[in-house]
């Protein structure tokens, strides 16, 4: 390991033997710390998920009502905020300091940010488990929690805000110090968009949680519930759009690492990220479509991201990432027919499996259902039913979490500098997790179509004052959800096993190649694959991807129109 200290900087670097990147040791330690915290909260949130699924699976109905809502609160925070944001902070430090060959600005501040996030997340979990914050993740006023619950969220958000600002500073200083030439790498550009969204998210979080905190202390008489919903959702929804941008960046990274894919056209891919940055935050309105107050014009303009321009961004990625994979595969000689490149893809390489499964579940299920239930009028037949969790488990869990899991396997040799153990498990893990999440999500969406509410302990209404009978088929759809969740939990345990065994056993070794299973040297240094400058000739043009994307569009249209038909069957309302 070569350690160098650059004269212009106050940082110590080692040179990665695989990628030849200069790695700031301070940044590397922070990446490890944040990734470890992320995995700890993933494990806790996963335990909560198991308990919830076994409760909503009506035949088992495990938890009592108070613990169900408590665990649901913890699950929402740990998964949607703690796991994802810790991992993203690790990703931001990686995408700025490491990929730009630069030093991380303000490592001490970064440790302060880390400490604030850890204290905040622990505080939230402690208050929730003590029964002092039975308000669910959304904490809608005037439901009131203990002041320390709000303070925990604020601590976490301030910590994350510092980390985001350090990312901006690092990119800025790297440019000034000439650590990279020309434009930012596409992966860093994607993370930049994630950070831009994160800034807006965290400022909104302050607008929501600071008044709620003061109100819980008795210093404010009242927080308007409509105001809280507006600013909470410009925290809660964009928080998940950070995931989207970061996940797409990870997709590009995994495509490069596993099959040596390079972006087909930088302009095309960057346009998609620019559309995200500009318009995706408007999607916060998805949560307010069936709310009293806002006008049709506001709801329509915002829910459609000003004419679905953020959806256009996703459609671009839906073409350009599979297209890049196809072109890379065709260059390697898999040019027969439309799909030889796909048949002969490295399905046994965990990063590739995670990438493809994540893209399919995110796009075909998460993306399509999201646009449909985010349509102003259709929202009325979906609002607060299990279709919503169905949508965001397809995006955040089957999409983002699976992509992040896939990436972790590659960070272990490169950043933790440990050999990946239990490789066979790692190869199976993406498939197990994806099958489980697919069933869980289909179960939720099916239940939601039957009108089954989300966030509900007992849909049999056993002790309710009036008799209520919901469709009996819900027993089946909820069981499918429960079985899927069990399988996904197994997938989660496999992931934890691989990560923990690799990190905590065995000596430190320098990585010798980028891929884990495939016998390939690092595509970042090997120049075997011609790059974007070359014209894409007809023989290697991504024909298969064109077929796949049009099939996607047909499926999208069919589900979309079916939902208008469903809406047309309900009572007239205006």
């Amino acid at each position: 390991m070569a350690v160098t200290t650059l004269p212009a900087a106050r940082a110590t670097f080692r040179t990665c033997p695989v990628t030849t990147l200069k790695v700031d040791i301070a940044a590397e330690r922070l990446i490890i710390a944040n990734a470890v915290a992320a995995v700890v909260f993933l494990a806790l949130g996963g335990l909560f998920a198991l308990l919830l699924a076994l409760t909503r699976w009506q035949a088992i109905h495990l938890l009592p009502a108070d613990w169900f809502y408590r665990v649901l609160t913890g699950h929402g925070f740990d998964m949607l905020v703690a796991w994802i944001v810790f991992f993203e902070v690790a990703g931001l430090y990686f995408g700025s300091a490491i990929l730009l060959n630069a030093r991380l600005v303000g490592p001490r501040l970064a440790w302060l940010a880390y400490a604030l996030m850890v204290v905040g997340a622990v505080l939230v979990n402690v208050m929730v488990l003590m029964g002092q914050a039975d308000v669910l993740f959304t904490a809608y006023v005037p439901l009131k929690a203990h002041p320390l619950f709000y303070l925990g969220v604020i601590f976490f958000a301030v910590g994350a805000l510092i980390a985001v600002l350090l990312f901006f500073a690092t990119v800025w200083v790297a440019g000034r110090e000439g650590r990279y030439q020309g434009s930012l790498p596409l992966v860093t550009f994607g993370l930049m968009v994630a950070a831009i969204i994160a800034l807006y998210t965290l400022l909104s979080g302050a607008l929501a949680f600071v008044p709620a905190f003061l109100w819980s202390l008795g210093l404010l008489p009242h927080v308007d519930p409509g105001y809280f919903r507006n600013v909470f959702w410009s925290f809660g929804h964009p928080a998940q759009q950070i995931n989207l941008a970061a996940m797409v960046a990870v997709w590009y990274a995994l495509a490069t690492m596993t099959v040596g894919a390079t972006p087909l056209n930088e302009k095309f891919s960057r346009l998609a990220f620019v559309l995200y940055a500009l318009f995706i935050n408007l999607g916060s309105a998805h949560h307010l479509l069936s709310d009293p107050g806002p006008s049709f014009a506001w709801k329509m303009s915002n829910t459609s991201y000003a004419m679905y321009l953020a959806v256009l961004g996703s459609l671009i990625h839906a073409f350009s990432i599979p297209g890049a994979i196809e072109v890379a595969q065709r260059r390697r000689g898999f040019t027969k027919g439309a799909f030889e490149w796909l048949r002969k893809a490295p399905w046994h390489e965990p990063g590739f499996a995670a990438l493809v499964l994540s893209m399919i579940l995110f796009g075909w299920i998460g993306g399509v259902t999201g646009v449909v239930i985010g349509t102003e009028q259709i929202n009325m037949v979906a609002h607060n039913t299990l279709r919503l969790p169905g949508h965001f488990h397809a995006t955040v869990v089957a999409g983002t979490t699976l992509a992040f899991m896939g990436l972790t396997y590659y960070l272990i040799p490169l950043i933790f500098r440990k050999e990946l153990k239990l490789k066979k498990l790692a190869q199976w893990q993406p498939y197990v997790f994806a099958v489980g999440m697919f069933l869980a999500v289909i179960g939720m969406i099916g239940s939601g179509l039957l009108g089954i509410p989300r966030r509900h302990w007992d849909i049999t209404f056993t002790n309710a004052p009036l008799q209520v009978t919901l469709p009996g088929a819900a027993q089946i759809t909820l069981a499918v959800m429960g079985i899927g969740a069990l399988i996904a939990v197994v997938g989660g345990i496999l992931y934890l096993a691989v990560v923990l065994v690799s990190v905590f056993t065995g000596p430190r070794v320098e990585a010798s190649r980028l891929t884990l299973v495939m016998d390939r040297r690092n595509p970042l240094v090997e120049q075997a694959i011609p790059d974007t400058g070359k014209e894409v000739t007809d023989k290697i043009a991504p024909r298969g991807t064109v077929i796949l994307t049009f099939a996607f569009l047909v499926f999208f249209m069919a589900y979309y129109l079916t939902n208008w038909w469903l809406l047309g069957r309900t009572w007239w309302i205006r």
Binding site: P142, F296, T375
Partner: protein
């Protein structure tokens, strides 16, 4: 994952161009569907909302229900309002109050609000859902198109008794 070559602002491949245009047309279609349905569709999200004092609303609905009740169901008054009239429903921990008896094919102005925390008005099995906020009086002009007994469940978490919060709308032919 590494910086692109210095000049990457290049024309799109014809596949990319085609996909971009198809995508854009699709987005315009998705956008146009909403105003189209707003003008032509029978099911639109209500847009009428007033500011209201939660307690005042609760007192008003209680008086209205007591004055117009035609029956009692499990201690909850049943109101059968005249077609075309203003109808009130109050959400509170943990009850939808009162029970309403409506006529199929008739139109009512249904007022919805909460006395305490946020609730979710969820009419089943018709599957029609609206968010209910204290301080906001939401007015929906509704026409039942099916008859029978409909459950109003709560689908927004409203503290520990949330899953016990039910109400009823009975629609006669």
């Amino acid at each position: 994952m590494v910086s692109p070559q210095a000049l990457w602002w290049k024309p799109l491949h014809r596949y990319e161009k085609t996909w971009l245009i198809v995508g854009l047309v699709f987005c315009v279609f998705l956008t146009a569907m909403m105003p189209l349905w707003f003008v032509l569709g029978r099911q639109n999200v209500p847009t009428t909302t007033y500011r209201v004092d939660p307690l005042q609303y609760a007192v008003f609905v209680t008086r209205w229900a007591e004055a117009n009740k035609v029956d009692i169901l499990n201690n909850i008054p049943v109101v059968a309002p005249a077609p075309g009239s203003d109808v009130y429903l109050l959400g509170r921990q943990w009850q939808w109050y009162p029970v309403l008896r409506l006529q199929k094919g008739q139109t009512y102005r249904l007022h919805l609000s909460s006395q305490d925390v946020q609730h979710g008005f969820s009419l089943q099995p018709t599957n029609l859902n609206l968010q209910i906020l204290p301080g906001y009086e939401y007015v929906a002009t509704i026409t039942p198109t099916t008859s029978g007994e409909f459950a109003v469940i709560c689908n927004e978490f409203c503290a520990i008794g949330h899953h016990l919060m039910v109400g009823k709308i009975i629609v006669t032919e």
